[in-house]
């Protein structure tokens, strides 16, 4: 595929969709892809455990960006999963040989080109395959600065890893060339959806109420016997927020970039002001990360209630922010 261009992104799924859309003749920034798919969220799911720690997510579940854009833009995305690695590889080869750009869901752990310290068993990573040379696949992994290669055997293992979010070889590709996006219409709808998720999800674990519940869980962490488990718990929150391809501050900066871009593209300046406010909220998430890291490193005494107070402050600010986002959305008459 000589005309494919790799782009460095901060998040795998939005990066994959940004590159895929560009390849389909519809250039779209990663932040725009993320925002239009209403991918921003917060979820605290204590009943899903990753290495014994609760799932804490700052975005919608894996696949939501791909499906959200597919619906909004009419991409004609096709999704396939497979029972056996052989069938999965055969189909991938067939699609590549017919000139398709193919997206894959994979585990991170089995991808040899990842830095060893970042190879955890996380199964909802996304990447693009843009070609094949013998038994090597040419891969555009959006979180990498440059394209990479991956051997068939390794890629099969990554595609057929087991566990939470097991990919079952999932691949996807676009079959339509999208029509030019009606940004005001799509944008307005995406804002409404994000405001609804953050403020009005019936389940209290999702949205700003979820931040409050996480605060309560943090507050109750025991500092007995050196507080080892408590340190792992707060380190886990910070990893979900900063380290797992969020673009910083749990996607808050990326969403601010989306608001800014939409303000200009759809000529609705009220969103610019909201973008600036969200950057300030993102900075506070990072202050929470710094405070947590200092406690983990024992530079500050371990005080879970202090971290819980920071989280409650963030919950209150995000509630105000999304109420105002909703008001701006309702006042928007494109």
């Amino acid at each position: 595929m000589p005309d494919f261009v790799h782009a460095h992104a901060s998040h795998c799924e939005s990066g994959v969709m940004s590159s895929l859309l560009r390849h389909q003749g519809m250039p779209m920034s990663e932040a725009m892809a993320f925002g239009l798919a209403s991918a921003l969220a917060f979820a605290y799911l204590p009943f899903i455990r990753l290495n014994g720690l609760p799932l804490i997510a700052f975005r919608m579940p894996p696949g939501a960006i791909i499906r959200g854009l597919h619906r909004g833009l009419g991409l004609g995305m096709r999704f396939e999963t497979f029972r056996s690695p052989e069938a999965g590889s055969a189909r991938l080869d067939q699609l590549l040989d017919s000139g398709k750009l193919v997206g894959l869901q994979t585990s991170i752990f089995w991808l040899p080109y990842f830095p060893p310290d970042l190879r955890f068993h996380f199964n909802a990573h996304n990447l693009l395959v843009y070609g094949r040379e013998g038994d090597d696949y040419l891969i555009s992994d959006p979180v990498g600065e440059t394209p990479v290669r991956c051997a068939r055997e390794d890629l099969e293992k990554a595609r057929f890893a087991k566990g939470v979010f097991a990919p079952r070889g999932r691949l996807y590709y676009a079959t339509n060339t999208p029509a030019p996006a009606d940004l005001p219409r799509l944008g307005r709808r995406a804002l409404a959806r994000t405001a609804r998720i953050m403020l009005r999800t019936p389940l209290p674990l999702i949205g700003v109420r979820g931040i409050g519940l996480l605060a309560r869980a943090v507050e109750r962490l025991s500092v007995a016997d050196g507080g080892g488990p408590a340190r792992l718990y707060i380190g886990h929150i910070v990893r979900m927020q900063e380290e797992t391809g969020t673009g910083g501050a749990g996607f808050r900066f990326m969403y601010a970039s989306f608001l800014q871009e939409l303000a200009a593209a759809a000529a609705y300046p009220a969103l610019q002001e909201l973008a600036e406010r969200l950057v300030v909220i993102g900075d506070k998430w990072q202050e929470f990360a710094v405070a947590s890291a200092r406690m983990i490193k024992r530079r500050d005494p371990l005080e879970p209630p202090a971290l819980a107070a920071l989280l409650r402050g963030l919950a209150a600010e995000e509630r105000n922010f999304f109420e105002d986002l909703r008001a701006a959305q309702l006042a928007w008459k494109p």
Partner: protein, 131 residues
């Protein structure tokens, strides 16, 4: 975060890679800026990796004392836990735990050993010893 505040701390866990983060440039626009890493991330990533390494190390000590099988050590080496190894092999958790008994692990048929080795991404010979 302003563009000039984007951390360039040289986070060792990134192994020389750069990651893209969003920051506000001088013109007020948010842009993707490559970052060499942030000390905070390095702290939490190393913390998680060291926790897994500690589990592997403790299992190794128990293997050498004859109190667990090499399977438990290799499970932690592969950054797995019993739940994940059970899913990766298709075996019940209680069976995986049972195979942590050295005397039972020593009697496992080759087919089961191959299943474990494949799930852990190592050779059968490697599975049967600690390094």
């Amino acid at each position: 975060m302003r563009e000039r505040e984007v951390p360039q701390d040289g986070n060792a866990t990134l192994a020389g890679h750069r990651k893209a983060v969003y920051a506000v440039a001088d013109d007020g626009k948010l842009r993707l800026i490559p970052s060499r890493g942030w000390e905070v991330e390095e702290i939490v990533t190393r913390q998680a990796v060291e926790d897994l390494e500690r589990h592997a190390h403790e299992a190794r000590t128990r293997v050498l004392a004859g109190r667990t099988s090499t399977l438990e050590y290799h499970m932690y080496r592969a950054r797995m836990d019993v739940a994940l190894l059970s899913q990766a092999t298709g075996l019940w958790r209680w069976r995986v735990r049972r195979h942590f008994k050295p005397e039972i692990f020593a009697r496992l048929p080759p087919a089961l050993l191959r299943r474990y080795a494949a799930a852990l991404g190592i050779a059968v010979e490697a599975l049967q010893k600690v390094d």
